[in-house]
């Protein structure tokens, strides 16, 4: 699993940090989501999926590991 965040779409709700705080954080300056662990450990995958579902702006995407990030 590889996580990417579209910071253009992100509205800074913080839902990802609330749901999977070990994987996501927010930038100090503008509240946009950042990914701390782009390839999260197995035990966080459930909460990462929940974060994807809860994101109000559909800004988080999951892909297969090793997928190049454009």
């Amino acid at each position: 699993m590889r996580i990417t965040v579209d910071t253009e779409r992100c509205v800074g709700s913080g839902m990802c940090v609330l749901t999977a705080g070990e994987v996501f954080d927010q930038r100090e300056e503008d509240g946009k989501a950042i990914v701390l662990r782009p390839e999260p450990p197995a035990d966080t995958r459930g909460s990462v999926r929940e974060a994807v579902d809860l994101c109000p702006a559909a800004a988080i995407a999951l892909s297969a590991p090793g997928t190049p990030v454009l």
Partner: protein, 401 residues
């Protein structure tokens, strides 16, 4: 989809007697028939009412639905052909992109999870102060004035930088345009007074910036008028919603003693309890959108220009989304409610609200182990459905001194 869809012709204005926490029965009934119902606005204009969780969520995430104020209709009042003016500068909740982002973006960094959690200690202190005052004045109190209103009011005023001595009168003004019962004349007076106050506040922050959100924003390219609009929206949202969650939430816990006991004995339940109270009570009940083009929703075509009423409180009681939706279950596992909305307008201050509730509910229960209603539950005065935010007007409580 039946051939004769269930139609809702007037927005229900009352909750069933004895069920202060449940949405009006007509809305729950509409949801039982279909997650989307034709709705006739006063004056006869056709529109839609959405009560199903998935459909409300999808409309909120869909940029083909507009939030612009001038495209809205009042759900219960016939204004004839009169059209609402566009939202004043800064009032970004009633705008679409790119105007919305112009205002939300500079605020997003101020309301992050991390920043709001840093306020925990301050919320604890304010909460303890108010519990002390309650205890001293007790053994009875109106929980609304003694506890539910001051905690979020002090927090949002401190964040924005409203001087301490102005808080009382400012809170009264905001209250009078939020309670759903103020006459038009008094409403206008309160609105004008608030606008004047905020204009002065913005000018003061520009002249002498202090350590607060509003002062920080004077550093951006936003005009004074825009800052005034932003301040109004943040204060109105920050004061009224959390205050009503705290008071109505306490009422709900007192009416569900086994749930109250669970939270009291297991403070680790607080996070989940707050989410469940948000879902169960959904005090910000209803929002609206207008279709900018023809959009298919739930098998029906919503035509360009049609207004859609989104019933958050009914969606949060959707049996297709939540098991036993009308049960308050603080241990509930199926999270993901719509109490803060969804899409680009999802509540900016939600993490602040969470911190406030997470601190305040357990602290209250801890301080007063014998807390109970001081009047029969049916005598608790509720806000009418005409108020934008649902709640109680007062909550008389008592305890063993």
């Amino acid at each position: 989809m039946g051939e004769f869809p269930h139609t809702v012709t007037t927005m229900p204005t009352a909750r069933r007697s004895g069920c202060p926490f449940d949405p009006p029965a007509e809305l729950v009934d509409a949801r039982r028939h279909s997650p989307i119902s034709p709705y006739t606005f006063p004056g006869g204009k056709p529109g839609w009412l959405i009560t199903g969780f998935d459909l409300v969520r999808s409309v909120l995430a869909d940029s083909r639905f507009s939030s612009r104020k001038e495209l809205m209709l009042h759900p219960t009042i016939d204004y004839g052909d009169m059209q609402a003016p566009p939202a004043p500068p800064g009032e970004f909740l009633l705008m679409d992109e790119p105007q919305h982002s112009r205002y939300r973006k500079p605020l997003m960094g101020k309301f992050t999870v991390r920043r709001m959690r840093l306020l925990t200690e301050r919320v604890e202190q304010i909460t303890a102060d108010h519990l002390d005052a309650m205890e001293e004045a007790g053994p009875s109190a109106d929980l609304v004035t003694a506890f539910a209103k001051p905690i979020p009011a002090i927090m949002i005023c401190e964040l924005l930088g409203v001087p301490y001595q102005d808080r009382g009168s400012f809170q009264e003004q905001v209250d009078s345009f939020m309670n759903g019962e103020t006459s038009d004349e008094d409403l206008l007076a309160a609105y004008t007074a608030t606008q004047d106050y905020l204009a002065e506040l913005v000018a003061a922050k520009r002249a002498n910036p202090t350590d607060d959100v509003l002062s920080d924003l004077t550093d951006s390219d936003l005009t004074d008028e825009e800052l005034r609009g932003i301040a109004l929206i943040l204060l109105a949202a920050g004061l009224d919603t959390t205050a009503n969650m705290l008071a109505l939430g306490t009422f709900a816990l007192l009416r569900n003693p086994e749930q109250l006991a669970a939270l009291r004995t297991d403070p680790a339940l607080a996070d989940r309890a707050v989410e469940e109270l948000l879902r169960y009570l959904s005090v910000a009940k209803t929002f609206m959108r207008t279709a900018l083009e023809d959009v298919e929703v739930g098998g029906r075509t919503i035509e360009a220009g049609s207004r859609v009423i989104l019933s958050y409180n009914t969606a949060n009681r959707d049996p297709e989304r939540f098991a036993d939706p009308h049960v308050l279950d603080l241990r509930r596992q199926d999270g993901g409610h719509l109490a803060f909305g969804h899409g680009i307008h999802q509540c900016l201050g939600q993490q602040l609200a969470r911190v406030e509730m997470k601190v305040a509910f357990p602290a209250l229960l801890d301080r007063f182990p014998t807390l109970r209603l001081a009047v029969p539950p049916e005598e608790v005065a509720l806000r009418p459905e005409t108020a934008d935010v649902y709640g109680v007007k007062s909550l008389p409580v008592t305890w063993d001194a």
